[in-house]
Symmetry: C2
Subunit: 315 residues, 2 copies
């Protein structure tokens, strides 16, 4: 396997396309395997290298992820591309390990109430599962990266405000359990940039040399502002989805992840090279429009184009 | 007249509703005077106090501002409400002064090219006009506040990038000419938060005790992130429009101003009290939907509601 520092170097920004998993979590219709491949290949061509590939869940309940093994293989065939598969339970972990996906992601809820309501387990049990996942990983031949998202880290759909000290404590426990990456997730898009910046800075501090990801939703229009604050606070991995695809079962009517292409524009405007051609990226939205015509797509770049282009068009 | 410090105190944030002017600048259909009044009165009831009322332009070419005198009177009748009228030429200034609007806004282009193309005058001539406006103001009985927006301050639709030193030079000239407020305007939504923060900080520095406004458009999805950066850099006056209404003739297809209700949420989330009830504000969008059914409205708060409300709905 690759070292975590090769996949997540600490001297540059990594933007991860989570549309193929988080973006498809709740959709009614979804792209065919061939369309997903085209989506991945065209984003790869635009410079994207990190992709959430799907979730190792029952294909009966989640048919949108039934082709996860084929998507893992698609990513593995692209030089330098990195796939992340979500595994929420033991069976998922077995499937993910067997798939040889390069990174296995799992989730710990920030609040006891959400952990019990959503996953029917305590947070301690969730941390035990992370530990067990890391042991299985260590015993594997290909040793995938393990990442843990702390969901509801910036606000909980059940209890509301979340004590940041609890998130920091859980992040420490995740790293101690063997996780390579911890993601701070504003699952329901509750936070503003001040809160995101403060929590990110605190997690970056305890993470030391370990990578920290910030996973944001644009539910209340704060997504890009929150991403900017996360970057200022030292996060070097951010998640987004093409067109802001995706939603959350706990926030009905809410939009999904931060818009990937706007995230690229944000990073570049702040002087962080992403290696991604934003115009090529915007063009990939055509695949989503064709295969999921009823899904709302969001984003400023897609609407207005790059500044220079407009300037040329008008001048 | 009120002192500028009463209208724009330096110890709190002022959010200005510019939808009635900037938001209506390019629309094909527009609300009746009665509907505008309802819009103002309901926003006033939500806590909004600062309103751009319209533009003193030829009613033949801009019928949406034909009722500007009535709108000025509507605002003047509301205790503590403050109206701002735009005056772009001598005739407009005469009309604005005669209307007894509390604040007269005018514009100087950040680039020579845009100034000549858009207003058929040099920037020096535009500054001369500001000086003349301030002289007329000083000679008036009611002495309105004078504010100057430096348009294209963060990127120009004609020449592209703008030298921030030129903007700072122009801002100094505006204050020296007698302007009370200078607004840094990202007219075509070119900038990211780093650029907005740096320019805002520089203008705040030269402004001393004079108020600085930052006027942003959400063209590329950076509006709220840019507003956050402007606040961090010391701006205490921000413009927005309900639902993000408005566009720009120089950025076809682009969205308008920063979404006012999201701006309220941003400020409150950063600990800046706005005095505005965001839910009441969101409700006012109904007037826009009724009277301008073809205009796209934007905004995260309107989509998802306040975090607590969602929490209660789900829990």
């Amino acid at each position: 396997m690759s070292n975590v520092c090769d996949i997540y170097p600490d001297d540059r920004i990594i933007l991860r396309e989570v549309g193929l998993r988080d973006g498809l979590q709740l959709v009614k219709s979804f792209p065919s395997t061939a369309a997903k491949r085209k989506w991945i290949e065209r984003e790869y061509d635009a410079g994207v290298r990190h992709f959430e590939v799907g979730s190792f869940l029952s294909a009966k309940n989640f048919p949108q992820f039934a082709d996860v093994l084929e998507i893992v293989a698609t990513i593995a065939a692209l030089p330098g591309a990195h796939g992340i598969g979500l595994a929420l339970n033991e069976r998922g972990v077995d499937g993910a390990l067997a798939s040889h996906v390069a990174e296995i992601g799992t989730v710990v809820s920030a609040t006891e109430e959400h952990s019990r309501a959503n996953a029917n387990r305590s947070r301690d049990q969730a941390i035990d599962n992370v530990r067990r996942l890391c042991e299985l990983r260590d015993a594997s031949t290909h040793k995938p990266i393990v990442s843990v998202a702390i969901s509801m880290a910036l606000g909980c759909s059940i209890v509301g405000p979340v004590d940041p000290r609890e998130v920091i404590r859980l992040a420490e426990k995740c790293y101690a359990a063997g996780a390579d990456v911890v993601a701070v997730a504003d699952t329901v898009g509750y936070a503003g940039p001040k809160q995101v910046g403060e929590l990110t800075a605190a997690v970056v501090r305890i993470a030391g040399k370990q990578p920290v990801c910030v996973h944001l939703h644009d539910t209340r229009g704060m997504g890009i502002a929150n991403a900017s604050a996360a970057l200022d606070a030292g996060a070097r991995i951010l998640d987004g989805s093409l067109g802001g695809l995706g939603g959350c079962p706990f926030a009905p009517g809410a939009t999904g992840n931060v818009v990937f292409e706007d995230l690229v524009f944000l990073c570049e405007s702040k002087g962080f090279a992403t290696g991604i051609d934003v115009e090529k990226l915007v063009d990939v939205r055509g695949i989503l429009k064709e295969t999921m015509p009823h899904e709302a797509l969001y984003g400023g770049l897609a609407r207005a184009g790059l500044p220079g282009k407009v300037a040329r068009a008008v001048a």
